[in-house]
């Protein structure tokens, strides 16, 4: 297939793949095709069919028009910033998920414009002076942040919902379960959506909560357009965000109050650690570290309690265990990966006749059934009824 400018489709496919940072092996794995198939397409030996071209357009985040040489849209630089910041931690499937996230933000931005909805948070609302913050500095900044979010001293609860209320977009993606070889999250400021956070949904709930708090630290205090998070980063902004997240999720004074409230001066059993973990809605490991850092747990007990299997213990203590704690199957997430505000607006837009089931399915990459579930009990827009007879009929 050749179109305008004499440039072969195969060359355009190869260039788009390269710009997306993917190898032929990556694309072959995503499409469940042998690598020579991708090579043959790029060399013009064979041509992809309509569905395969749509798949490539999605993977490369290029409009199909661009792949066919009918148009040329500029490519935003966010993904290059993300890839550069992530180093070599992103494999092919993770890079594809980044593309999906960025593509969703573009669609979400258009959707917000179509609804006349404002952009989310775009500028950090709080300030931070340069230099290495002390523990007291961190505590003060956390106090400012909690005040900004109108939180008291206790558990932050559903942090994703909180972020949503303050105009921060949170999106889940399957970026790989092993943090040795992937990232835990990223954030960027999208021109039409505002501050947007990507969370690796294949990490544990505790890690996700920490990553979100970490990224909120960036949202509140930093102006960097793109941030990528993974364990071991030592840059000053990353260190601040880590310290911020720990204190924000489990304020030192709140932890002390909680332990005293249980009639203890120190924690001496893993059951209490599990209770505190559940109260603050963080990971078991994090509570252990916070207790030790606050001198509420001895080093010996810290080492001992690290050997405990916290989910099993929690279940024996009567806590309801979310299957999500055991495995993270992205196919089960459905609409849960999307920002809450987006889902609210989808329902509203559907009732007002601004968005169809198919449009929403296209934007989310989900099945129409997922959207129909979301819209169950939502009124059918009048134009959905009228056009059944408006445009003429074959019968």
């Amino acid at each position: 297939m050749t179109t305008r400018g004499g440039t072969d489709l195969g060359e355009r496919l190869a260039r788009a793949r390269d710009q997306a940072g993917l190898t032929q092996e990556d694309v072959a794995a995503l499409l469940r095709q042998p690598r020579p198939v991708i090579s043959n397409w790029e060399q013009g030996v064979r041509q992809p069919n309509e569905h395969q071209l749509s798949q490539l357009a999605a993977i490369y985040r290029r409009p199909l028009e661009d792949l066919l040489g009918l148009a040329e849209h500029p490519r935003p630089e966010f993904e290059q910033l993300v890839y550069r910041d992530a180093g070599d931690r992103l494999d092919g499937p993770a890079k594809y998920q980044i593309q999906r996230f960025l593509g969703f933000l573009d669609d979400y931005g258009e959707f917000l414009k179509a609804l006349g909805e404002p952009t989310g948070l775009s500028e950090p609302p709080l300030t931070l002076r340069d230099g290495r913050p002390s523990k007291d500095d961190i505590r003060r900044k956390v106090d400012e942040a909690r005040s900004y979010f109108r939180l008291g001293k206790g558990s932050v609860g559903d942090l994703s919902a909180l972020a949503d209320l303050f105009g921060i977009t949170v999106y889940l993606a399957p970026l790989g379960a092993s943090l040795d070889g992937t990232i835990s999250g990223a954030s960027l400021i999208h021109e039409e959506v505002g501050f947007s956070i990507l969370i690796n949904g294949q990490t544990t709930p505790g890690r996700r909560q920490f990553t979100l708090a970490h990224e909120l630290g960036h949202a509140l205090f930093h102006r960097t357009p793109v941030e990528v998070s993974f364990p071991g980063r030592r840059e000053s902004e990353e260190r601040f965000a880590d310290l911020f997240a720990a204190e924000f999720l489990v304020p030192t004074s709140s932890l002390q109050d909680a332990v005293e409230g249980m009639g203890l001066s120190r924690v001496g059993d893993p059951e209490t650690v599990v209770h505190l973990q559940r109260f603050f809605n963080v990971s078991y490991e994090m509570i252990l570290r916070r207790l030790r850092a606050s001198n509420l747990l001895s080093d010996i007990d810290y080492k001992r309690f690290k050997e405990v299997r916290p989910v099993h213990l929690a279940e024996r203590l009567g806590y309801t265990i979310d299957l999500d704690e055991w495995r993270q199957d992205p196919d089960r997430w459905g609409l849960a990966r999307f920002p809450r505000r987006f889902l609210r607006l989808l329902r509203r837009a559907s009732s007002e006749g601004i968005m169809t089931v198919s449009g929403a399915a296209t934007m989310t990459g989900l099945a129409a059934e997922d959207i129909e579930e979301l819209l169950r009990d939502a009124p059918v827009a009048s134009n959905e009824e009228e056009t059944h007879d408006e445009f003429g009929s074959a019968f």
């Binding site: 309509e50 196919d331 459905g334 399915a361 990459g365 989900l366 445009f391 074959a394």
Partner: protein, 203 residues
């Protein structure tokens, strides 16, 4: 409502009619109304795709199957999955391959420019774009329910005939394949499953 006879032109079905008639176990009815062959674009149904691939890269019917496999609850989910899976091997379902010109039209219809031109909440889906591109080029009938897609098709190709899943049920009654009561029951079942259309089959 006009004539009781189905059109002579082939009918090209988008995902919604294909899906609803399949999950209500009435796919043979749809095929009969369509003239004994169900024609769909590959974006709607791709019998050659690996059904275990990334969900958002599947055909639209493939995505529905993933929903029933992973997210739907209840015994009906399994049944519906099998009914959709059955589509992949039927000999009376014809997957239509696009010409180069239809492919270009397919690409244009999914553009941001079309979205903005028509004030759509989102870009047109792959299934709708494929049905519009092929039906427009070949003078076929487009079986589309999505009202945004119908509006776009009406403006870009006023001469192309459209039908909805609801009209297909009505046609089945007119032709005598099912009686009025069966038609009402089928349509109500579609509504109960989430079909977005008028609350009544006839008014």
């Amino acid at each position: 409502m006009t004539s009781s006879a189905p059109p002579s032109e082939p009918i090209l079905c988008n995902t919604t009619p294909t899906r609803y008639f399949a999950i209500t176990d009435q796919i043979d009815l749809l095929i009969a109304v369509c003239g004994d062959t169900l024609r769909v674009p590959r974006s709607v149904l791709d019998p050659d795709e690996d059904p275990d691939g990334p969900a958002d890269l599947l055909s639209e019917i493939g995505a529905s199957m993933r929903f029933y496999a992973k997210r739907a609850v209840g015994a009906e989910a399994i049944e519906r999955w099998f009914r959709l899976n059955d589509l992949r091997t039927r000999s009376n379902i014809s997957v239509i391959e696009m010409t180069e010109q239809e492919m270009e039209r397919f690409a244009e219809l999914q553009s941001r420019e079309i979205q903005r031109q028509f004030g759509l909440g989102a870009r047109l889906g792959r299934g709708e774009s494929a049905v519009i591109a092929i039906a427009e080029a070949r003078g076929w009938v487009a079986a589309i329910d999505d009202w945004e897609a119908r509006e776009v098709l009406h403006h870009v190709s006023p001469g192309t005939t459209m039908i909805t899943s609801r009209e297909i049920v009505r046609a089945a009654v007119y032709i005598g394949m099912i009686d009025t009561g069966e038609g009402d029951t089928l349509y109500q079942e579609m509504l109960d499953l989430g079909y977005r259309g008028p609350s009544n089959l006839w008014s």
